[in-house]
């Protein structure tokens, strides 16, 4: 049994839902934490365990607002892990706001760098204008 990781978003870290039983895998919000290793290592270990006995399909949804460079490295580590387990029918969905070129470009770059089923999905977030950078 692999228990879920569920973390609420904070001022510097994204919301995390890694729930095998309900087949939900999500990383949403901003990842600008200085000590990203401490935050991401448990997530990476979780996926390592998960891929030993994965569900029939795995869709990881990312909906990122901001990403600092050390968090970028850890996202890449997660993608590499998905790549290593590509036979398990897994997929990445990278969501970005229609007006957010920077996050779109980040997604395109990851897509280019990985041999993954990597979908870029444009969203229109109506709350976006009110987005408050409250860290």
């Amino acid at each position: 049994m692999l228990g879920p990781i569920i973390l609420e978003k904070t001022k510097t870290t994204p919301e995390i839902i890694l729930d095998k039983d309900n087949n939900v895998f999500k990383i949403c919000g901003r990842a600008i934490i200085e000590n990203s290793q401490e935050f991401f290592n448990p997530i990476i270990s979780w996926f390592e365990k998960y891929f030993k006995n994965p569900n029939s399909t795995t869709e990881l949804i990312l909906n990122i607002d901001y990403l600092n460079s050390s968090s970028s490295l850890f996202l890449m580590k997660i993608f590499v892990l998905f790549e290593k387990n590509s036979k398990t029918n897994n997929k990445i969905i990278w969501m970005y706001d229609a007006s957010d070129d920077l996050i779109k470009e980040r997604g395109e770059e990851y897509k280019l760098l990985t041999k993954l089923d990597f979908e870029l999905k444009e969203t229109i977030n109506e709350d976006y204008e009110d987005f408050n950078f409250d860290i």
Binding site: E34, Y66, N68, S69, D101, F133, I135
Partner: protein
């Protein structure tokens, strides 16, 4: 904004334990974050002044909106509203500047001169009179704000009017709050110091400036304030600036050379020639200068295409953690800025140098 002006500003504010200045539209959110920035970053010895300081900052902000003739336009001008708070020695200063119609000057001047000459009991008497008479002037308030400021600070309110044209002047006012528990023996800073700062931030088109200890939690409030100031900027530019602000400010908090356990730094954001400029300055250990210089020169020598390749290579190889992530951030910065990264090292002594950096978006 040049790397040289960053250092000049740093020198100008060298004795400030913390200082913050802001130009542009004043909203309640700006006020909230400004008070927060200060509350979170003032020294232990002054913690008892926190509430008074917040109160005075609010009064000062309200005073700007009460007497200001600014017409909510988005373009920054030399006469844009200006607000500054600073702590030097044991005294806190709150400075405001805004446009005022020349024909209103005599009334404001009279109110200020009156509160500046009264003693404590006379002030209390006046306070009660004003409250009971309900002589509310057309802009709301019969100088009650001024009376409160003087009562709270037990000091004077230095002020000045600088003529702009036949119709308007800039109205400068300074609130001084001294910590009664400690005596630094320093003379209070004259209002002319603040006028000088206002003049040069206007000349240099600086929207916001902060000098202080970057190891503390100053980054969040600063970013929120920038966001307030950028309501009208396209989301694309806006996000890019934020993205790199986080990166640059975190870098300072991590790598700045600690002096007396403080990671002193200065941060500015400006707008000029249709570009945003971010400028930072901080001390770095002398033995790190050569390496940092090499890294910046390396990224500056590459084309955007080469930088993209390098970034992807580093990202893919997971060059971690200590040297790697700093390198990745720098490459990322170089590929997104519109011009090369400008930088300068000024040798201070055998242990450390001053490192300043400016980038444009």
């Amino acid at each position: 904004m040049t790397t040289k002006t960053i250092y000049d500003f740093y020198k100008l504010l060298e004795n400030d334990n913390i200082s913050f200045s802001y130009r542009g539209g004043f909203t309640n959110n700006v006020l909230t974050t400004a008070t927060q920035l200060f509350k979170e970053n003032i020294g232990e010895e002054h913690s008892k002044l926190k509430n008074k300081l917040s109160f005075l900052m609010i009064e000062s902000f309200q005073n700007i909106s009460r007497y200001s003739e600014q017409e909510g336009n988005d373009i920054l001008e030399d006469t844009s509203e200006f607000f500054m708070t600073r702590n030097v020695g044991d005294t806190f200063y709150i400075i405001s500047a805004n446009l005022i119609d020349n024909d209103k000057i005599p009334t404001v001047k009279e109110k200020l001169e009156r509160v500046n000459t009264l003693d404590k009991s006379e002030l209390n008497k006046l306070y009660r009179e004003v409250l009971t008479n309900k002589q509310i002037s057309e802009k709301g308030g019969a100088g009650l704000g001024f009376i409160e400021m003087v009562r709270k600070t037990k000091g004077k309110l230095p002020f000045d009017f600088v003529k702009v044209d036949e119709k308007q002047s800039m109205f400068f006012m300074q609130i001084e709050l001294k910590n009664p528990k400690v005596d630094d023996g320093l003379e209070p800073l004259p209002l002319s110091d603040a006028k000088f700062v206002q003049e040069i931030v206007a000349d240099e088109n600086i929207l916001m400036m902060h000098k202080g200890d970057f190891s503390k939690e100053a980054v969040g409030p600063m970013l929120r304030m920038v966001e307030e100031n950028m309501q009208n900027v396209s989301l694309k530019v806006h996000k890019k600036i934020f993205h790199f602000l986080v990166e640059i400010l975190q870098n300072i908090s991590k790598h700045a050379y600690p002096i007396n356990e403080k990671r002193e730094g200065i941060f500015q954001i400006g707008f000029d020639d249709n570009k945003f400029h971010i400028g930072t300055g901080n001390f770095i250990a002398k033995d790190e200068v050569a390496n940092l210089k090499n890294q910046i020169e390396m990224v500056n020598s590459k084309t955007k295409e080469e930088l993209n390749e390098l970034y992807r290579k580093y990202l893919r190889e997971g060059k971690s953690t200590k040297t790697g992530s700093a390198g990745l951030g720098l490459i990322d910065l170089a590929r997104e800025t519109t011009d090369k990264i400008n930088f300068e090292f000024i040798e201070i002594n055998n242990n450390y140098s001053f490192f300043s950096l400016t980038v444009n978006f």
